[in-house]
């Protein structure tokens, strides 16, 4: 589903190279965990996948479902099924969460040449999904992310993911700022979406999240490259020994 080949990328403004020869393959149905110390390029990778302005790919390519996505902007990528759950969901004053969700879904469907979902069907769908994530419908009448607690913001991200039904979901440190109960709710939400035709890239510092969202593969990112890959036992090894050993081995 996703193939990243020898990717080099930098911040357009100052030319700082963040991704330095990254290779990664994620198959449909796979949950791939990306772990790494601070500053290893985890968030940058998620921005580049989602098409944020301000990053330049200088070498290599990102191929999604057999197609290079470098020419598509963030909205086009989203319509193709790429979703990023933000580490810091952005507050949008004046735009009600429900309204935003409807517009996003309509626009994605329009871009894919699909029919619009009717408002009653949409409301029904959102209500069910929200209930599963223990999100109060009242919250969805409030402006998007404005005044939401840390946990509410993360649950709202998962709600968006569930409603938009993407094919490739990147979760950028979705566990940060969550207490254990909220973490379980979020993980349950993600697990409910696991399916043979959907892939996840779970970016995290800590192994804790991976107890709840059990990965098929674990990759260690350091200085913009994957320096080691393994199965879920690698996450436990990192938790026990820290990153230093893996980094030393790779050097």
């Amino acid at each position: 589903m996703l193939e990243i080949k020898n990717l080099h990328a930098r911040i357009a403004d100052d030319g700082t190279e963040i991704i330095r020869g990254l290779d990664l393959t994620v198959k449909a149905g796979e949950v791939a965990a990306i772990m790494g110390p601070n500053g290893s390029g985890k968030s940058t990778l998620s921005y580049i996948l989602s098409g944020r302005d301000g990053y330049e790919v200088t070498e290599g390519d990102v191929v999604y479902n057999g197609e290079s996505i470098s020419g598509f902007d963030a909205a086009e990528r989203a319509a193709k099924g790429i979703f990023l759950a933000f580490q810091y969901p952005v507050e949008i004053p004046g735009v009600a969460t429900l309204q935003f969700l409807k517009v996003a879904l309509d626009e994605q469907r329009k871009a894919r040449g699909e029919e619009e979902m009717t408002t009653p069907a949409f409301m029904h769908f959102v209500k069910e999904t929200a209930a599963r994530l223990r999100i109060d419908m009242q919250m969805l009448k409030r402006p998007l992310n404005v005044g939401f607690s840390g946990g509410e913001k993360k649950r709202a991200e998962i709600l968006q993911m569930a409603v938009l039904e993407p094919k490739l979901c990147a979760l950028d440190e979705t566990d940060s700022g969550l207490d254990i109960d909220a973490l379980k709710i979020v993980a349950d939400g993600v697990n409910a979406l696991r399916s043979p035709d959907r892939a996840f890239i779970v970016i995290t510092h800590y192994q804790r999240l991976l107890d709840y969202i059990v990965p098929d593969t674990v990759h260690v990112l350091h200085k913009g490259r994957i320096i080691r890959s393994g199965d879920k036992s690698l996450a436990h090894e990192l938790e026990a020994n820290g990153y230093a050993e893996v980094i030393a081995d790779a050097a």
Binding site: D53, A74, A75, L84, V90, I92, V95, F100, A104, E107
Partner: protein, 422 residues
């Protein structure tokens, strides 16, 4: 002695308005009215249009910008405008039959043209002060309008919509008696063509004790139109006025608001929305006087500026020595979406009481790139994302409009304007 000879000569033409003395002589009104017009015309001549040296006109260069079409006298546009809210009591300035509307219980309506014809309008055809160019121009040219009275205690379920359609010079007087409650929509709509219209409107609103009024001015001028408007209002004790001004452009738009909170504990909220594009200039000028104890005013102006458009908000608040416990707040927030656009905010506070709270603030910003990216990452194309954010910036602000249907209609106007920009 015939009628012509009886009338004082308006011998000098208002050349900068493209109007000759002969044309002025044909405007409605008997001797007193003609005398009053002549005085205003002479004032305009001797003073000329205001220059930027006058503080009141510093940010709007009327001399440079007031270029009206060759015929600036009133002309009616064909066709009627559907009211903003279906079922509204629609009063059109050129509708001589509006007296018949008096049948609506609790409202009396009079055609202003009658007041011109019988001379009773003459006393009102005076300038507010030395700087009052709008009052003079309108007073010289006015040929229609409506006078409305809402009787004490009456609650109007549906809005009164005052419509000006086409090139018009009109006057509205609305008196809302004690304890009455209602909504007035003052609606100015131009039509897209190259001709350009010249519209002036002078309105007066008196809100008596305990009355509660929502007044909404909607200016939808086309890119070649010039609009000069002035609303004066007086709020008596415990009177409430929610004032909303929505301007969606025009070549030159100036809306003046002159308010007096004469009664104790009167409450004013003013929400202004100015949508600017092209090379247009929009000016919202408010002069508010707090005169009595415990009155409040909350003013928020939001502006969206595209292209080479320019605009200004002048917010003057004067707190008199008797106006203790005044609470006056004023904010002006601008989304500047073009490097070539500009918007000025000028707060002006004069406070003569010592136990008051007065605050003001202004911000200017572009859209936040991170917000645009976030919306795009959910599949919303860039232009739609931007218009959602602009709507959010403005929509937040329509919340004080209690009537959902009116709020929805205003949102619709804003959305259509943004959509037309693409």
């Amino acid at each position: 002695m015939n009628f012509q000879a009886q009338r004082p000569a308006i011998d000098e033409s208002l050349s900068f308005l493209g109007i000759s003395g002969d044309e002025l002589g044909l405007l409605p009104g008997k001797r007193d009215v003609q005398l009053a017009r002549a005085k205003l015309v002479q004032d305009l001549h001797s003073r000329g249009l205001p220059t930027r040296r006058l503080e009141f006109w510093h940010y709007t260069d009327l001399r440079a910008r007031l270029k009206v079409p060759s015929r600036s006298l009133s002309t009616a546009d064909a066709g009627d405008l559907a009211p903003l809210i279906p079922g509204s009591i629609v009063l059109r300035v050129n509708d001589t039959s509006c007296d018949k509307r008096a049948g609506i219980e609790g409202i009396s309506v009079r055609n202003y043209r009658d007041a011109l014809e019988d001379g009773s309008a003459a006393a009102g055809l005076v300038a507010r002060d030395a700087n009052d160019a709008i009052g003079r121009i309108n007073g010289a040219l006015v040929d229609g309008g409506v006078k409305v009275e809402v009787a004490a205690g009456v609650r109007l379920e549906l809005p009164i919509e005052l419509q000006m359609h086409g090139s018009r010079h009109s006057r509205f007087t609305v008196a809302v008696q004690a304890g009455a409650r209602g909504t007035v929509i003052e609606r100015h709509a131009g039509r897209d063509d190259a001709q350009g219209r010249f519209v002036t409107a002078v309105s007066e609103l008196h809100v008596e004790k305990g009355a509660d009024v929502t007044w909404i001015i909607i200016g939808q001028q086309s890119a070649s139109d010039t609009y000069l408007g002035q609303l004066s209002f007086v709020l008596e004790q415990e009177a409430k006025l929610r004032l909303l001004v929505l301007n969606t452009g025009g070549k030159l738009v100036r809306q003046e608001l002159h308010g007096r909170q004469s009664g104790e504990a009167a409450q004013l909220t003013l929400n202004g929305i100015n949508l600017l594009e092209g090379t247009g200039h929009t000016d919202l000028t408010m002069m508010l006087e707090h005169e009595a104890v415990g009155a409040t005013s909350a003013v928020v102006v939001r502006n969206v500026v595209f292209d080479q458009a320019s605009g200004v908000f002048q917010g003057g608040i004067k707190v008199g020595p008797g106006a203790q416990q005044t609470d006056a707040r004023m904010a002006c927030n601008t989304l500047l979406l073009s490097d070539d656009g500009e918007f000025s905010a000028k707060p002006e506070l004069e406070i003569f009481a010592d136990d008051v709270q007065c605050g003001h603030g202004a911000t200017v910003a572009d859209l936040d790139d991170t917000q645009v990216y976030y919306l795009m990452a959910r599949g919303i194309p860039k232009t739609r994302a931007r218009s959602l954010l602009i709507n959010g910036f403005l929509g937040e602000f329509l919340l004080p409009v209690e009537n959902d249907r009116i709020a929805a209609a205003l949102e619709q106007i804003i959305a259509a304007w943004l959509e037309a920009r693409g």
